[in-house]
């Protein structure tokens, strides 16, 4: 009864949660992002075909985990900032992935008290080719060869660490992500639905979807 205690870690009442399995992996020709498709409100699945892979620029995407509202709002802001940035570039140039990742970091850090957002930002640009940045909940930024995040990721840290190879071929990388996410979905109750992927290369954007009967062995 004495003193005021506030639990800042739990989601606001009725908030839509992305209990999630997301990842992004660098490979030979660029980068591939992957995510499950489950959105939950408490124990109810609010959306079983969610698209957690959000476009920020032509070949820069992010994977969202945490509060759906927060991550959507942040992604919209970064999208806007990046448009402003891109409009000032020479006409034939596109922003680099690190610019987008750093804007994510800036927003997530400055508003850390009000945000529940774990984001992986990945993209392809001519200068750096495929790059992956992880921006976990406190607003730090980490450039990585591959990144995994969300509640389901805890189940596949070891597997990914054992099986990741730098400079994979495209098919090999798709299999790596598919297997990792299938395991994450299998063990994590808040992850599920289909596996979505986005392949970002010199050639542009390609989307992939895998249904449960495809990825469940």
């Amino acid at each position: 009864m004495n003193g005021i205690s506030v639990d800042i870690n739990h989601l606001k009442k009725g908030e839509v949660n992305l209990g999630t399995s997301i990842m992004a992996v660098k490979f030979k020709d660029g980068v591939i992002l992957g995510a499950d498709s489950r959105t939950t409100t408490g124990s109810y699945i609010a959306n079983r075909v969610t698209d957690k892979l959000t476009q920020i620029h032509d070949t820069i995407y992010c994977c969202r985990s945490g509060s759906a509202a927060d991550t959507q709002a942040v992604a919209d802001m970064v999208k806007y900032y990046l448009q402003m940035y891109a409009s000032q570039l020479p006409f034939d140039e596109k922003p680099q992935t690190k610019i987008a990742a750093n804007i994510f970091q800036e927003i997530c850090y400055n508003n850390k008290d009000n945000l529940t957002a774990g984001i992986i930002c990945a993209g392809y640009d001519k200068v750096n080719k495929g790059t992956v940045y992880s921006i976990p909940i406190g607003g730090s930024i980490h450039q990585q060869e591959y990144a995994i995040a969300g509640s389901g990721s805890t189940f596949v840290y070891g597997w990914c660490n054992e099986n990741f190879k730098p400079e994979m071929e495209r098919e090999e990388c798709v299999d790596f992500i598919k297997t990792a996410l299938a395991e994450a979905i299998k063990w994590d109750g808040s992850s599920g639905g289909v596996i979505r992927m986005v392949v970002l290369t010199e050639a542009g954007v390609e989307r992939l979807v895998y249904y449960p009967e495809d990825y469940q062995k």
């Binding site: 004495n2 109810y44 509202a69």
Partner: protein, 271 residues
């Protein structure tokens, strides 16, 4: 002492821990759904409004017009869905006037989500937004905290589970308009029968590409109050008159005051 007083903060906190929560605003236990079909989209809602355990309104309107061809169904706090919808409708019209083009569903959705996100979930508006615009037919949903979803079919509100069961089992791709209307009406009816917070009638709105939106108010009325088996009116004279007393409680007096002749006493005006 001037200023704010926080004397009751700890008391309230204590009461909350003992299970005596703060009073809450009127909430519409609701079933709302939406479904796309070939060349358009349809949304539907029940018509029950509740205030705690009381049915506050048996035939309220939960379908709101954001623009002539963009409609939305609201669940959550009644006042919030109403006001937020009116605000966005107003801003959407100004925006379309400014842009000199038809308002778009994505514009309405963006305005809604940014407004709701700003209020961090304190505006309890859960909406299914649908409509047709120059880019086609769209169906989306917004939650109170500002998150949005997109899909071929949606359901929201306390009856969303019952409605979703119907949608999940009967939805097929590329439905006809009639099939989509039937599916939505069935889903709402499922909410009406199986959810305590939902009831009364089915409202429905169809938005088809290239046509005006059509609102079917009380599309289904499965809860018409049946005629009473007999009249409970008491015939005149059922009760005997024992005594009658009629008295004046107001005295009316009339006094006429006259001033000399009108021509003499006319108001004097400065030359």
């Amino acid at each position: 002492m001037p200023g704010l007083s926080f004397d009751n903060y700890q008391r309230n906190h204590f009461l909350t821990t003992r299970g005596y929560g703060q009073p809450t605003a009127t909430s519409t236990g609701t079933t709302i759904v939406g479904c796309k079909f070939k060349g358009g989209v349809v949304i539907a809602a029940d018509t029950r409004a509740t205030a705690g355990p009381i049915v506050a309104d048996k035939n309220c309107e939960k379908l709101h017009r954001l623009a002539p061809k963009i409609w939305c169904a609201g669940a959550g706090t009644a006042a919030d869905t109403e006001m937020v919808t009116q605000l966005i409708a107003s801003n959407l019209e100004l925006h379309s006037l400014h842009q000199n083009s038809q308002p778009r569903v994505i514009t309405a959705l963006t305005m809604l989500k940014q407004h709701l996100f700003k209020y961090q979930g304190h505006l309890g508006a859960y909406l299914i937004v649908a409509g047709v615009d120059p880019t086609g037919a769209h169906l989306l949903s917004v939650q109170a905290h500002g998150s949005t979803d997109i899909g071929q079919y949606q359901s929201l509100g306390s009856g969303s589970l019952a409605a979703m069961a119907v949608l999940e089992s009967h939805w097929v791709p590329d439905m006809s308009k009639e099939d989509a209307m039937k599916l939505c009406a069935d889903a709402i009816e499922s909410g009406i029968w199986n959810d305590l917070g939902s009831g009364s009638n089915v409202d429905l709105c169809v938005m088809e590409v290239g046509k005006d939106a059509e609102l079917y108010r009380n599309h289904l009325t499965p809860n018409v109050r049946s005629e009473k088996a007999r009249s409970y009116k008491f015939a005149r004279g059922t009760t005997a008159v024992l005594r009658e007393s009629i008295r004046d409680i107001l005295d009316v007096e009339e006094t006429v005051i006259t001033f000399g002749s009108a021509s003499v006493d006319a108001m004097e005006v400065d030359a």
